[in-house]
Symmetry: C2
Subunit: 173 residues, 2 copies
């Protein structure tokens, strides 16, 4: 299955979550077993010889990419969650949204200093969420190998915000 | 790695999310690549010859089990989410919490009638959330093969609430 075949399994939903937004819905891709496996194999295949210790996923859809890639790469799976969800001692970072702010947390013992980290998410848009996730990984001394996304909305220039790091996306709009 | 070794990687956090609750924190297990892979292989190994079409995961930690198991089984990965998160037409079910109610949704086209479904989550407690997920799968005509959990809190008798279905848990407390 080619990348173009995977892209055909993503559908546009107009005006979600609000008027004027065309939401890229990956659920038809995920629900097709062959397509889901192929997407993870394309992305994960980049890192088979990269000695990834842990894959970080950001709540909630990022958990899907993080878990499947961690399994494929025989790496640990680290969770970055919204505030108040993680039970143990955390580091927190606050970042700007279009209106207001939001916070993300990581367990203080989630990553050992020097571990090689792949950060994974379903979507790269403006890069705000992933920048916050990168901050948390760095606070723990993790060495970021790459930031990997299923989809990139190139017009939103998230890549520029992340330019200190190598960024990979499988599908672009 | 034996199941007992996996259990040692789950830590108890007292008084989370509220006083008197001992929270079973699976993040140390997930963050150990060998342990995470072994846990998924133990659970997923039960279904290698069971022709699973799709694995359903419930937001948010259930996405981890759902995604890794779907990848292992070459099955589709279906998301059940909190209300308002899924962009396409949904079915919704409302269920009782200790105080008040909560709702879960599934896309109306997520499962084809007759597909063989594995429902996966990290934790079986009272079974309220999973009962709601089972309702949604049945509304779409899915044939539930089994309900699979990383952890079961046996004292809460969730298994009784789910007794129409086969239930498997890897680790019990």
């Amino acid at each position: 299955m080619r990348v173009e075949d995977l892209k055909h399994r993503i559908r546009g939903i107009p005006d979600f979550p609000k008027p004027g937004i065309l939401f890229r819905d990956i659920t038809p891709l995920l629900s097709d077993g062959q397509a889901f496996r192929q997407a993870i194999d394309y992305i994960g295949g980049r890192y088979l010889d990269k000695h990834i210790d842990v894959v970080v996923g950001v709540e909630a859809r990022g958990f899907i990419m993080g878990a499947a890639l961690a399994y494929k790469l025989q790496a640990g799976n680290i969770l970055i969650r919204k505030s108040g969800k993680l039970p143990y001692k955390t580091h927190r970072t606050t970042y700007a949204l279009e209106y207001g702010t939001d916070s993300l947390e990581i367990h203080q013992d989630a990553i050992k200093s020097g571990q090689r980290v792949l950060v994974a998410d379903d979507l790269l848009a403006t890069g705000g969420t992933i920048s916050a996730a990168v901050d948390l990984v760095k606070q723990l001394g993790g060495e970021i190998v790459e930031l990997a996304f299923l989809i990139e909305l190139t017009a939103l220039k998230g890549r520029e915000k992340l330019k200190e790091h190598s960024v990979f996306s499988l599908i672009q709009y």
